[in-house]
Amino acid sequence: MLNKESHIITWKQFREGNKDALLSLYNEHYVGLMNYGSKVIFNREIVKDSITQVLLRLWDHRSALPDVDNVRSYLLTTLRRELLSEIKKENKRHTKYTEAGQNMPAEEKSYEDLIIQLQHNNELKQKLHSALLSLTNREKELLQLKFFEDLDYEEIAERCQISKRTVYNIIYRAIKTLKTILISAPRVSGIPEKILLGYILFILIQF
């Protein structure tokens, strides 16, 4: 079943007061909501708490909730509103301090910046940085839609007006490029094998 279809079923159960659907809603939208939230405010704890807050408030008002086609975008909008009011409250509270507004990025971070920052492993951070540089914009866009926003291939195809096969191929190619760079980093010291071989041959010839 497509994500979108199962989202609609879960949403319907949720509105009917099915408690399991509350947890399913969390599971289905966790990655999408967490990542979207991180773009609005780069503090996962606050984002996580806000998601909890939003879902429980929706639960309390479940009988008044609309029947929506796109559950994800409904949740994203609600989360965004919650986070913005959170930032506002926070800034009001901290106006006295110099770090005022530290939670409020001047502009939303790009996908590349975010996944590099979220990566804790320093070696991987470096490699990811150089690997992303060698991708095309289209490739990066599709990686973001697929992995960061957690959409499925059908949704991406629809959104980008291309075939599902094309979506798949572009992402495949992007990952192949990433792989080459991620595993090609020199493990041992400087001298590449070819040159080394050349030297050995050269020495042999001398004899």
Binding site: K19, L22, L23, I46, D49, Y97
Partner: protein
């Protein structure tokens, strides 16, 4: 294409593999864990594929996702039971709770993971200002931690508070205007921002603690036999609610212990064995004890605040007292079948283990039996 022919790219693109990495589909997790055992030759590209997928999804892995999901399930479960109580029009069917409870149980088994995640959260950057999930009067902000849960947050004045399990803090709406006052029920560790013009006062059932800027721990669980304040750094002034005593000044590395009198005890989820009305009659007289803090011999850690480092430490405590802490820490209910076992004394430190490991460790020192039922009820007998 068969999985054995998969390249690293194919794994990353496979939905079932993604579910396995994220741990959000049980069948997929079981399938892939088993698959990789049967195909050890694929281990390297399998590992790389997982690394690539997790890098691209914003560093969400199964461990973190599970910890977050369990936390959510717990909060949701208690929110649901609260709202159900408030709206009798919608009776709660116990059977509907079953899946949530199952996750809560799973939760306590996975406590180690949650604690691990908690440990890496620098508490300074968790500047939450939410008023909790309860519906509260507008003039107070309340922070609540459930059983098995610890929270840290920053107060509007910059002070840092770590709340131990099953504790509540009510912050006055005028906090940080003229004074900084709050009420504590349970246990919390405070690192108070220095501000001589606004005294920081903590009210508990039996004592008030007044400070200017310092680090200390207050333990004031209504169900416990005593209320304690342990001072790590700086100085604090204690006033007991008992009028006969004046103010008591505490020095670093000292702790004050006072018995909880019955008239102050709020009987909230405590087992009756803990409150003995007759025994406390004399304690209405000002009676308190100041002692030094206890240090763990091995690592110099202070026993009183070891919980802030995710360790549970006891120094020559009765099993009965330890059980109270274990209940709060692991979200379980413990009852004793034997008065003798209840009085056993233990000195021990535990970090990030599940409750069964803890009980097994205690069994190595003294002999006793225990049984755990599905609802996290533990019965301890000889």
């Amino acid at each position: 294409m068969k999985y054995v022919d998969f390249e690293m790219e194919d794994f990353v693109l496979d939905n079932s593999f993604q579910n396995y990495c994220l741990g959000n589909n049980h069948e997929d997790v079981v399938f892939w864990e088993d698959w990789i055992k049967r195909h050890p030759g694929k281990a390297e590209i399998f590992r790389l594929a997982k690394e690539v997928y997790i890098s691209l999804n914003g560093n969400h892995n199964a461990e973190q996702f599970n910890a977050d999901r369990i936390e959510f399930a717990k909060i949701a479960a208690s929110h649901l039971s609260e709202t159900s109580l408030n709206s009798p029009a919608e009776p709660i069917k116990l059977t509907n709770h079953a899946p949530l409870r199952k996750i809560a149980l799973y939760g306590s088994v996975a406590a180690a993971i949650i604690l691990g995640a908690f440990y890496f959260t620098k508490f300074g950057n968790f500047i939450s200002t939410k008023s909790g999930l309860k519906h509260l009067p507008a003039d107070q902000i309340t922070k609540v931690s459930k059983q098995g849960e610890r929270k840290s947050f920053q107060l509007p004045d910059g002070s840092i508070v770590m709340l131990n399990a099953e504790s509540e803090i009510h912050i006055d709406k005028n906090f940080n205007t003229r004074t900084r006052e709050l009420t504590l029920e349970g246990e919390a560790y405070f690192d108070v921002a220095h501000d001589a013009s606004r005294p920081f006062i903590i009210h508990t059932n039996n004592m008030d603690v007044k400070v200017l800027g310092t680090i200390f721990n207050v333990k004031a669980y209504p169900g416990d036999k005593t209320t304690e304040t342990s001072l790590i750094k700086g100085s604090v002034e204690i006033s007991l609610h008992n009028k006969e005593t004046g103010k008591i000044l505490l020095h670093p590395n000292e702790k004050i212990v006072i018995p909880n009198t019955t008239d102050h005890i709020v009987t909230k989820n405590t087992d009756h064995t803990d409150i003995k009305p007759n025994a406390t009659e004399n304690s209405n007289k000002a009676e308190y004890k100041i002692t030094g803090l206890t240090y763990n011999k091995n690592n110099d850690a202070i026993t009183e605040v070891s919980w802030t480092k995710n360790r549970l430490a006891f120094n020559n405590c009765s099993f009965e007292t330890i059980a109270k802490d274990l209940e709060r820490w692991y979200n379980v209910k413990i009852s004793f079948r034997s008065e003798e076992v209840k009085a056993y004394k233990f000195t021990a430190t535990f970090d990030q283990k599940n409750i069964e490991r803890v009980l097994e460790a205690l069994q190595l020192s003294r002999y006793f039996n225990y049984t755990i039922t599905n609802n996290n009820n533990i019965t301890i007998s000889e």
